[in-house]
Amino acid sequence: MTENTTTHADLLNLVGAKRDTAAFESLFEHFAPRIKAFMMRRGVASEVADDVAQEAMVNVWRKAHLYDSAKSAPSTWIFTISRNAHIDLVRKLQRPELDPNDPALVPDAAPDAPTMIGAVQDADRVRNAMSHLPEEQREVLMLSFFEDKPHSEIATQLNLPLGTVKSRIRLAFTRMRTRLGDAQ
């Protein structure tokens, strides 16, 4: 468990509970340049990437009281906010998302049932498991996240059949689940 991720969770909780602007500034200094870099890797021009990073951090402020460190690591939570800001501002779409208060939603199993939901330690283990993947499997995962490409575009870029890209993704996750299961 790295010290940084625990500290970021504390900062998020301070923003959520007390609207602590000093804590927010620390989060901004760490995450905004990374969100901007993430967007630029996705082909977004640097001025627009700067705007997306600012918008994402505004949403971090607005939603900090909803952050639950037992459910996700800070960087994971901020990744999802950044992803949604990209869809909203750059693709100009509404992202289809389930509603946690929907009566049709089938709820999670009991809280102590074994799941792979990431908390601070699990996020590190997931990243560690990924580092052990064969290069061609890690490559398709990175293209999915870094360059925001659906697997049809990845196939074109890597000059591979679509089926090969799909099976590499599936193999990658099977391998990671095996490794993470062994590490319990």
Binding site: T21, F24, E25, F31, A32, P33, R34, K36, A37, F38, M40, D50, A53, Q54, V58, W61, R62, K63, L66, D68, S72, A73, P74, S75, T76, F79, S82, H86, L93, Q94, R95, P96, L98, D99, P100, N101, D102, P103, A104, L105, V106, P107, D108, T115, M116, I117, G118, D122, A123, V126, R127, M130, L141, M142, S144, F145, F146, D148, R170, F173
Partner: protein
């Protein structure tokens, strides 16, 4: 309700990364509303996204970016629109259509203005902002087949009410079938209740059978 047919990891990954077309994402998100196991898989994938964010080399923000953001914070109210569930709200007799699908079509299944498709079947086209992939609700009478058709591309079918059977198996509420260009399938709705499903495809449906091909242009399918 036990789900046996789930989206494979490549579909879930496209959803988790944010790269997915809105029509496929609508189908995946609606399956996720019914499937805690797949929600857990998407969370694992979001952990990867968090890992990438941690490890990427940062790009400096523009001068004054922080100040600009700080001035915006004063006017903001906290966002409670997507809060955690405050109490168990799930009802077994709840809506047929889960969110987000229900909001995309503007109401539950019985409120929609279904269009006749022929042979007792009905459809409702889902309005989307992103072109190129179509999403439609289908309602097939119990025990009846959907006219045989094949696919030029990919089709996802999510069952919301009733069930259907084809040569790949039986699909009930929450089950998702992925069919590619090779599959010419003939789904038949199970007896008992109408089968309602969300069908998403990036190719025009080609209904084989002479009568169906004559009628097809008039039905806009």
């Amino acid at each position: 309700m036990t789900i046996h047919h789930h989206p494979l990891d490549d579909l879930l990954l496209d959803y988790a990364s944010g790269a997915q077309h809105q029509a496929w994402a609508l189908c995946i998100a609606s399956h996720l509303a019914l499937c805690p196991a797949c929600r857990a898989r998407v969370s694992e994938m979001e952990n990867l996204g968090g890992g990438f964010l941690d490890q990427i080399r940062p790009e400096s923000m523009s001068n004054g970016a922080l100040d600009h953001v700080l001035t915006r914070l004063d006017d903001l109210v906290p966002d409670n629109t997507a809060g955690p569930r405050t109490a168990p709200t799930h009802r077994a007799d709840g809506p047929v259509l889960p969110e987000p699908l229900r909001s995309y079509v503007g109401g539950d299944a019985e409120t929609l203005a279904w269009r006749r498709l022929g042979r007792g079947a009905y459809q409702y086209i889902v309005p989307l902002s992103e072109p190129g992939v179509t999403a439609r609700l289908l309602r097939i009478p119990a025990g009846k087949p959907v006219p045989e058709h094949s696919h030029g591309g990919l089709e996802l079918t999510l069952v919301l009410q009733g069930a259907f059977t084809d040569q790949t198996g039986e699909y009930g509420r929450g089950d998702l079938e992925e069919a590619d260009a090779q599959l010419s399938h003939q789904p038949v709705a199970a007896p008992g209740v109408d089968c309602i499903c969300l069908a998403v495809t990036d190719a025009p449906l080609r209904f084989s059978g002479l009568a169906a091909r004559i009628v097809q242009p008039f039905l806009g399918i």
